[in-house]
Amino acid sequence: MSLLDIIFGVISLVAIASAISVVNQRDIFRAALFLVVSFLAVAALFVLLNAEFLAVVQVLVYVGAVSILIIFAIMLTSNVQTGSTSHGFSPLILILVAALTALIVSTAISTDWNTWDSKGFEVSPGGTEEDLSNTEQGIKNVFSNTTVVISTLIMTRFVLPMEVVSVVLLAAVIGALALVRDTEVES
């Protein structure tokens, strides 16, 4: 068991525990704060997976923007003091969800994924042991320049989805403005 395994265990424990608190919390505001903890844990997981750019995006978009938006909506709509009612502890839903988890996990275990470690390479994301002994090469491999690759791919192979997504964002902005506008003002 290496240090990376321990770090992964701690982070995933934090992520799952805060996610459970989100769905079990009566107080919506506290649920939103636990959601921020969960987002941060997911960003740490991205760093573990050598996706530094995505980790920064996660912190900027989710922790910075989405959580603030959610907290604003909580302040504007619901009565924070009364909390929210749930359907209570429903065994049917719990059984359904547990069955789904078992299905996904058993499928993932029984499938022969075409990965590096299944081919007998001793590779963890972040370079091999040899790389770590050779300092200069090791630094290059551990901090692989994913940002350059991602931006190149977005501007070449994925240029059409990028344009479509920008149109989606524009439509979302216009739709949100049209929804919250007072209808009495225009008449």
């Binding site: 995006v57 978009v61 959610i70 619901s78 969800v97 990965t115 929804l179």
Partner: protein, 101 residues
């Protein structure tokens, strides 16, 4: 720490989010649960892009697109919830029967 651990973590988080969507009544809490599910999907995609033999960065790019669409979705959902609260002064999903007949 191998691919299967990330898959199990992702499955667990997705199921927690699904439980929240099915069991909670407040529209805002359902929205938070959907965010948890989207995050679980992102973990899965990034883990595959880091461990899979081919297509190394493609999973990360798809994760970026998911984050973008999720941000747009949150903005729109907030607008709808605010509108509903203004019209009916409730965000309880059981009260929202506008499209039922």
């Amino acid at each position: 720490m191998s691919l299967i651990h990330f898959q199990i973590l992702s499955a667990a988080m997705f199921s927690i989010g699904l439980y929240g969507v099915l069991a909670r009544r407040n529209a805002l809490l359902v929205l938070l649960s959907i965010e948890i599910m989207l995050n679980a999907v992102n973990i899965n995609l990034v883990a595959f892009s880091s461990y899979a033999e081919s297509a190394q960065e493609v999973g990360q790019i798809i994760a970026i697109f998911i984050i973008t669409v999720a941000a747009a979705e949150v903005g729109l959902a907030m607008a709808i919830i605010l509108r509903l609260f203004r019209d009916r002064s409730s965000v309880d999903l059981d009260d929202i029967d506008l499209m039922k007949w």
